[in-house]
Amino acid sequence: MQSVGDKLAELACEPGRKVEDVDVFGRSAFNRYYYASYLITRKMLFDLNPNWVNTRHKNIPELLRKTIISRIRDQIRKQSKKGLITKSKEQKIRNDINDAVSELSLIIAEAYNIRVIADYRPDNKIFRKHKDLILENKSLNEAKKWSGRASMFSKKIIRIWKDVGL
């Protein structure tokens, strides 16, 4: 998906391309970049719990923020009470999971919003800004990084999930 997005972005940014073509190639690039980050997140959800793999796209941030965080918190509370981890370790895990989940859910929510605009709001046109393309304040160069960021945060979530014994 990422490489398809990159190719579409390259086509959209080619010098001399007609405005209408910049718009359609650019929109498709935003779409593919969203799916690249979605598929990484979906794989992570499958690894955590296969039942979560069919979560509706727009409900993923909520699943991350509520269910995943609370399961990890329950575990570390239990382990800290039993003396298997120290209070400071409990706090560190709590901070780490909050950071990773909040980052990933923001990316997924934001990428989904832009994807929907790219696909269903043709009146919101893409415009060029220097060597970048902008849709609804979001730059294509930034969208290109969605999947890399999603991958980093997913790895961290899986690591914590496993470390707490889940």
Binding site: D47, L48, N49, P50, N51, K58, R65, Q75, K78, Q79, K82, G83, L84, I85, N95, D96, D99, A100, S102, E103, L106, A109, E110, Y112, N113, I114, V116, I117, Y120, R121, E136, N137, K138, S139, N141, E142, K145, G148, R149, M152, F153, K155, K156, R159, K162, D163, V164, G165, L166
Partner: protein, 255 residues
């Protein structure tokens, strides 16, 4: 369909609450969602007069849902200078540490504080602590040039670190009754790093003292009833119950 009355009330609410950090509000009719557009420089670690925090955004979303039955999502865009700082950091780390750092990304917590995430090709274990501190120092010095402080450094590595107590307990549940060497081999087989025989033996002692495992006469370890209850149950392929069943099946097969 988005209820117009509710949207008007939401607009009044934004003015009333003096929510100055939202640069634009859009309605997405395809799935009835309102989008708040927010520049990333308006997000800081703590809420102030003109800034908000990521935690505050989560509360705001809930409050709007409860008050007006409207779903809100956020689109946060980064300022150009943040992107340049990001690119500069990646180039610096590549030059100083080469292939040790596979990837690096930043997450700004406002205009003067940042979290840095690095993907390492080495373990984040104790023996590498000096190198990690060195990386942390290089990142901090670089960020200081821009008046930005490093809030936290998150490292991720391909291999697992040393196993936590609960991971060791889970392994004993899967392969018990198990000798220390079997536990050691199983953990290494799933990519955990075991510093020494003594290290593992101490960890097992802690679990024994907590009454979660028993050491039998033949020096093998088994879980106590409390130990069995203590291991979390999951629905994933990583489930200790499934792995235990498979391990038992394998044992029977080879007897």
């Amino acid at each position: 369909m988005l209820d117009c009355n509710n949207i008007d009330k939401l607009k009044e609410f934004i003015i009333e609450r003096k929510i100055a950090y939202v640069s634009d509000v859009k309605a997405r009719e395809t799935d009835n969602i309102i989008i708040f557009i927010i520049p990333s420089e308006k997000i800081s670690e703590k809420s102030t007069k003109n800034k908000t925090s990521k935690r505050q955004l989560t509360y705001l979303k809930k409050e709007i849902k409860n008050k007006f039955d409207i779903e809100v999502e956020y689109v946060i865009y980064r300022e150009k200078n943040q992107e340049q700082i990001d690119a500069g950091l990646l180039a610096l780390l590549a030059e100083r540490f080469g292939k040790i750092i596979k990837d690096c990304l930043t997450s700004f917590k406002g205009s003067n504080s940042v979290d840095v995430w690095i993907d390492l090709s080495i373990k984040m274990e104790q023996s590498n602590r000096g190198l990690i501190d060195n990386i942390r120092g290089v990142i901090s010095d670089y960020l200081n040039l821009f008046g930005i402080s490093l809030r936290s450094l998150h490292g991720i590595s391909q291999d697992q670190d040393v196993p936590s107590q609960i991971v060791i307990l889970k392994v004993i549940k899967i392969i018990s009754p198990a000798q220390q060497i079997d536990i050691n081999n199983y953990l290494q087989g799933i990519n955990y790093y075991i510093p020494s025989e003594l290290w593992l033996s101490r960890k097992l002692d802690v679990l024994r003292k907590k009454m979660l495992i028993l050491r039998q006469k033949d020096k093998s370890y088994v879980l106590t009833e409390e130990g069995v209850r203590f291991v979390p149950r999951t629905a994933s392929s990583n489930s200790s119950d499934i792995k235990r069943a498979l391990a038992l099946g394998r044992k029977r097969w080879y007897i």
